[in-house]
């Protein structure tokens, strides 16, 4: 029978069917973060249940950590209890922690792939909705809550209902200064914030094949913003080259064996999907959100939409968003003055993201009055960026260059905007108050964010780049 890649990974990892009809899916790699883990550690201790596979479990400090240079446990006072409880729980349970001062600390979704902890065809779970970021290397990943986190620690399986299968086929090449972030925002705009609910989504097509791994991760990262249960991309030579020799991947003969298997990880040619979506990326321009959910998107040359032109089911939300965002229909996005720019988060904080932004920033200055921040996704990314001189490019332009963590994505570490500020951000959610009380967030790519910081207004990176030549 013809099977999709999802079926192959799911069926291999299906341990049993539970009495309630759910499949028990073995989790090969489980990564915890400090915001949620302490509840689960406390629950296990109370119930006297041990961690089944501490050797397949890893932990990071990311959500609450300060980004200020020279940070310690207490730099963000509201994070210190979480950071210490994480350290304590990992020590008691024998879990490898990438602690605050570890040279490989960072955001779970950045650290796990860059160390080779996640692998093609492996299952992965994180108590965070953006878990499927690592689908970019061909892993099948699930976000979960705290109770499920305790369940995985105890049993190493998740009890899941088998999702349906969707394929999103992305054709055409991407234009200059257009990246996976723009593609993902357009997909969310097209299928909506619940368009993939109930589905495991395979991203495929020519546009995906030419994307470097970091961009594939950006694409899979935003899968949850369509409500998808998981999102992934079949691995290929680009994946294998990217993973080779990373510290946690199999080495030597074991690598060769794994590679032979990984080459079989594709959907069969005639495999049936429950839903198919296609998008031609060739004409795609940079995308940006204008509203308060990630489906409220326009091309950078577009305007805040006329509610009369929207689907009736989306009008009420749009009217609410106009008020919150301080926008009126018909306003062009380009030219809107901004107060803040944030480049970072599990969506767009890997080295190539920073390189794209630095290319635009180099030799220029952040506009007067704009607070601009770059927060690398991991301490390794930060080190590599510094070795390439990117920190100097950003700092010379007037950007803050921070220590790695989730930072302004959800503001859990105290990095927040001020009420009423307009912020262009490379993160994943433009929800009301997420980046600070009454902060108006526009989601965009690193290139758009960088161009905006320089202009002091929402800007089209293509025009800024053209102005230089």
């Amino acid at each position: 029978m013809q099977r999709t890649l999802f079926d192959k990974i799911w069926d291999f990892h299906r341990v049993a069917q539970r009495a309630d009809g759910r499949d028990l899916i073995y989790i090969d790699r489980h990564v915890l973060h400090e915001l949620h883990a302490h509840h689960a550690f406390a629950q296990l201790e109370k119930q006297g249940r041990p961690v089944r596979r501490a050797d397949l479990t890893f932990a990071v400090q990311d959500h609450t950590v300060a980004t200020k240079p020279g940070r310690d446990d207490d730099t963000n006072p509201s994070g210190s209890a979480f950071i210490k409880a994480m350290r304590d729980g990992c020590r008691k349970n024998g879990i490898r922690l990438f602690d605050l001062d570890d040279p490989e600390q960072g955001i779970s979704h950045v650290v796990a792939p860059e160390l080779g902890i996640v692998l093609p065809g492996a299952t992965h779970a994180v108590p965070d909705s953006h878990a499927s970021t690592v689908g970019g290397v061909g892993a099948l990943a699930f976000g979960c809550g705290t109770s499920e986190l305790a369940h995985i620690l105890t049993t190493q399986v998740m009890a899941l209902k088998r999702p349906q299968r969707m394929r999103v086929k992305l054709d055409g090449g991407l234009g200059a200064h257009v990246s996976a972030k723009d593609v993902a925002l357009r997909i969310i705009a097209e299928i909506g914030v619940a368009g993939a609910r109930g589905y495991a989504v395979e991203y495929a097509g020519a546009a995906v094949r030419v994307m470097p791994i970091e961009q594939r991760m950006t694409l899979c990262n935003l899968n949850i913003e369509t409500g998808g249960r998981s999102g992934f991309i079949a691995p290929d030579d680009t994946t294998f080259e990217w993973l080779a020799r990373r510290p946690f991947v199999p080495q030597g003969a074991a690598w060769d064996g794994a590679l032979r298997y990984w080459r079989t990880l594709t959907s069969d040619e005639d495999a049936a999907f429950d839903r198919e979506v296609a998008l031609d990326c060739a004409a795609l321009e940079p995308q940006i959100t204008w509203g308060t959910d990630p489906s409220q998107v326009v091309g950078i040359s577009g305007r805040v939409p006329d509610p009369a032109a929207l689907d009736p089911s989306r009008r009420a939300a749009a009217l609410n968003a106009f008020g919150y965002m301080g926008l009126v229909p018909g306003t062009p996005l380009v030219g809107l003055p901004v107060d803040r720019v944030f480049i970072g988060s599990c969506t767009n904080s890997r080295l190539p993201d920073l390189q794209l932004a630095a290319e635009i920033v180099r030799g220029r200055r952040v506009a007067e009055g704009v607070v601009a921040m770059v927060v690398p996704g991991s301490s390794s990314v930060k080190r590599e960026a510094e070795a390439a001189g990117l920190d100097r490019v950003f700092r010379a332009a007037g950007f803050f260059w921070g220590e790695s963590g989730c930072s302004m994505c959800a503001g859990g570490n105290g990095d927040r905007g001020q009420p009423g500020e307009r912020c262009v951000s490379t993160t994943n959610r433009n929800f009301e108050n997420r980046q600070g009380s009454k902060v108006r967030t526009h989601l965009a790519s690193p290139a758009t964010a960088a161009a905006t910081a320089i202009a002091g207004r929402i800007a089209d990176a293509r025009q800024l780049a053209a102005g230089r030549s």
Binding site: F12, V15, A317, N433
Partner: protein
Amino acid sequence: MQPFTRHTGVAAPLLKDDINTDQVAPILHTRGLKEDYRAMLFHRARRRDDGSEDPDFVLNKPQFRAAVILVTGQNFGAGSSRESAVWSMLANGIRVIVAKSFAEIYRENCLQNGLLPVVLGSDAADEFIARVIAADGQAPFTVDLSTQQISGPGGPDICFEIPAAERTRLLEGLDDIGLTLKHSDEIANWERRAKTAQPWLQSARDSRRSA
């Protein structure tokens, strides 16, 4: 987990689609390991700019303060996987959410904690919403999981669907980990099989530390 059989009380209408968990349980500036889940629920939505209570927010209205049932639109609980968005409901006595649809992680978090997620089809939901608005907190509704019915003022009983196994789990308050641990032997067998079929999955060693 606390079992769920039947709850009777006020139903409050929160008639928006796509309410996300950042709205339900915002990350606040001052926090610690022991959080005040009661105060967390809709913390921002409940307040005006000066920090005082917004009398227009539904759960602040006198007739809805003790609501047991929350009635809402499409895709409730989108966004972050934070389970505090369920715990804060329970801390306020809310035991049932009736929605047109739920985000998947949120729905699972409800099931894990004995908060009943009821999905009604669009027409049935609109009829129920009209009855909840008409009742205006003056008469209670009853949600009975054993009969899978909602009863209350303004019309006949409404039937709802829920997968049989989830219903049993909620009715009996079954420990989800306990259910899975019945399969411990199969988990161990799978690990042995995987060690042969894909040995790299069963080992996550740091090659720099190998002895």
